[in-house]
Amino acid sequence: MSDGLPSSHIILAQSGIMPSLPTPSEPKPTPETAAPSSPFSGITPSLPGSGTPSSITPSLPGFSAPSTSPSSSPNASSGTSNLNITITNPDKLPDLPPGQHELKLVIQDGSQQPPADTGLGFIEIFIAVVAALLIAPFVQRQAGKWSANLNAFQFVQRNGIAISAYLLFFTVGWIVFMIVLPQLYMFDFSFRHNLNPSEIGGPADTYTLKNYIYLIFGREGDSDLLNWLHLAVFTKTIIASVIVTIINFALCYPLAYFMAQSVRGSNQRLLFLCLLLPFWVNEILRAFAFKLIFADLGLMNSFLIGIGILDQPYDFLSANVALYTGLTYAYILLMIFPLYNAIESLDPNQVEAARDMGASWIKIHTRIVMPHAKPGIASGCTMVFMLTAGALAAPNILGGPSSLWFTQIIYQWYNTGGNWPQGSAYAFVLLISCIIFVRIMMRVFNVGLGDIAKR
């Protein structure tokens, strides 16, 4: 972006354009964006066999998206500061001459108005009012403390302006710009129609629940009552994530206990190194390695046939063995380290005392070690569950032909489906469901949020 222009102006201009662009890449005025630049779209076509989004797409109902190669050709006319993006999408704009679809993106010239101004919709105002009402009592209660705490100025005095600004930016700034704002933006998005750029800000640009309704009830006029396919995939994703989390915990707990309580010194460092080193290999490569191991003529089948357990290759890929193995392995460190930290802080005398009093190993772990390590267990399980439910690469590469991960549907909405609002709605349902699920589990096991943050 060039200088001399208020940054808000640019954001506004972009936000007006983004929703209606059928390509997932950001509309920057550079020629590269014309080509699809997602890492997965680059891999997908080269993947033989099943489990790739392209091979799944046809089986999905509701992907009414047009051809997946939207051509937005930036005509950056040199000399002037105007950028013309021409949308040539014959399906969506059938009866307008191409000239009418020209979208002018203002880069330098502040005198021209951005073409589409979404403005403040009803929902934003509503949310703002509700939020204000929610925090009002809190603010009132804290106001006294805050005024007394005007010595927060001491924070600046103690750390100096540069460091204070740095700390503030990377805590507040991080949360606001990296987490809150994008999520709010997506949230807003999920309530909108999938419009063409020219319609944005127009009379058709209203809020709607149809994206959420679609997930539950499917396309209007469908014979089925509910959108069984997507709901089934959603449920399966959650259940599979729970299973992966449980497998992960079952594998990691003994290892973490062993490393925390039995191994000391250089052996411990060696073990940690052994755990860490494989993660220098990137996730995609590891997933493909698993695919090779579990392939029909792969290592696992050769081995099992070699020692005589199997007489013909077993299809690990369709049975999702490869998928579960890959997902379990992908997040193993996120389970081991919180567990290790929690168990390491347990006084070994407690274990010995319990042993001295005649407790069996099972009793020692259920009554002494696990209650002590509960925050670590919760922390590890939460991370593994969340990341597994949100995994994309492993299901893409290792999933069997019949398996579909919910994230793959989201990805298809964004990418091949070209329907960002629909994708946002799906992504939000996944996010909220996962959070609710985790909170319920935390309530069941009586763990507080603060306990998790401690580890």
């Binding site: 010995e352 005392a353 319990a354």
Partner: protein
């Protein structure tokens, strides 16, 4: 009730010998202490009795039954850890009844037994508190109650009082002793604090470098130490090194740099042996004209005096300037103060001075 017998117990960790050929019999119902500086192997012995370590050689018998291969959970012992190792996430009653819980005893029965034990340790009705709500002394008593819940025949205590402050420690000594007398089981107590060992124990084993130096009751160990280590470790003592110039079955005369001095010869010293003469500070006194025994008299220079109230401590020059001899004079209201640098004649009762073979001295 059962006695504990250590039969030629040797415990090695690699090349390091933690316990060297220990032979001991601890009677049932006895309060027995292992006393020694840190690293002398006393905790290792305790862990061998409780079953957390197996002896490298020799055997541990409890109630005449060989304990080899029997894990800590199956021995009739209960161990109280140095840091107590109470379970912080459980209530007091749950802590006490944990051993009953793992034996599958019903909640009501567990609760009843916990209440009984809480009465025993004088904390009635406190079962629902969390461990963290208790004071140090209360935690101590809960740890004892928890160990007693399994009705062990032998209770093993690994310096359980070391974390307490002085006042509480002194109070807990009497408390522990009275609990032991009430329940009547064998207590084996590990400590580096001779005051604890002397006040509570029926018998004491003094250990140094993995070797049991002497076993005996408090006054035996204090008045008639078997080795130079015991003499210097238990209580304060002045060591006069020298050579035996004359010895009979009763006394030995030792040539020291303060002249020839006489002490009781219980360990068979003979002429020409290297030896120590140990004279306790309270045995020394300023000589009067009545003191004519040349072998019980010496002269030294006053380095400083410390007035403690009941005692006046006089520090006298010895061969080692860092370790002056110490004389304790009872304050009988007209105790005479001396100035630094003054030469004084000191006398002692030879029957209370102990001549021992030359050997290791305990660090102060």
């Amino acid at each position: 009730m059962s006695s504990v017998e250590l039969d030629q117990v040797t415990i090695r960790f690699g090349d390091f010998v933690a316990v060297d050929n220990c032979n001991l019999t601890i009677e049932s119902g006895e309060f027995f202490s292992f006393l020694g500086p840190s690293g002398c192997g006393k905790t290792t012995i305790l862990r061998a009795i409780s079953g957390f370590n197996e002896p490298t050689d020799g055997s541990v018998h409890i109630g005449s039954k060989d304990m080899r291969g029997i894990g800590p959970n199956n021995r009739p012992t209960a161990l109280i850890f140095q840091n107590l190792a109470l379970f912080p996430l459980m209530s007091v009653a749950d802590n006490i009844a944990f051993a009953l819980e793992v034996r599958g005893i019903k909640y009501n029965e567990r609760r009843r037994r916990a209440e009984e034990l809480l009465d025993l340790i004088a904390l009635p009705g406190q079962g629902d508190k969390m461990v963290s709500e208790l004071s140090g002394g209360q935690m101590q008593r809960v740890a004892i109650a928890r160990a007693l819940a399994v009705e062990p025949e032998v209770l093993l205590l690994d310096e359980p009082l070391s974390a307490l402050d002085l006042k509480l420690r002194q109070h807990m000594r009497t408390e522990l002793r009275s609990i032991q007398q009430r329940v009547g089981i064998t207590f084996i107590y590990i400590t580096h604090d001779q005051g604890e060992a002397l006040t509570m124990s029926d018998r004491i084993a003094v250990m140094s470098a993995g070797i049991v130096q002497q076993v005996g009751n408090g006054s035996e160990i204090y008045n008639n130490p078997a080795t130079s280590f015991v003499a210097s470790f238990v209580g304060e003592n002045n060591a006069f090194p020298g050579k035996v110039s004359k010895a009979d079955s009763e006394f030995a005369v030792i040539d020291t740099s303060f002249g020839s001095l006489r002490g009781v010869n219980n360990r068979g010293l003979s002429e020409g042996d290297d030896a120590f003469l140990f004279i306790r500070p309270e045995v020394l006194y300023p000589a009067t004209s009545d003191d004519t025994d040349e072998d019980a008299l010496f002269e030294s220079e006053v380095m400083k005096e410390e007035f403690e109230g009941s005692f006046l401590h006089v520090f006298l020059r010895s061969e080692n300037p860092d370790k002056p001899y110490k004389m304790a004079i009872v304050n009988n209201a007209n105790v005479q103060r001396r100035s630094t640098g003054e030469m004084v004649k000191i006398a002692f009762d030879p029957r209370r001075a102990v001549a021992l073979p030359y050997g290791e001295l305990a660090d102060e």
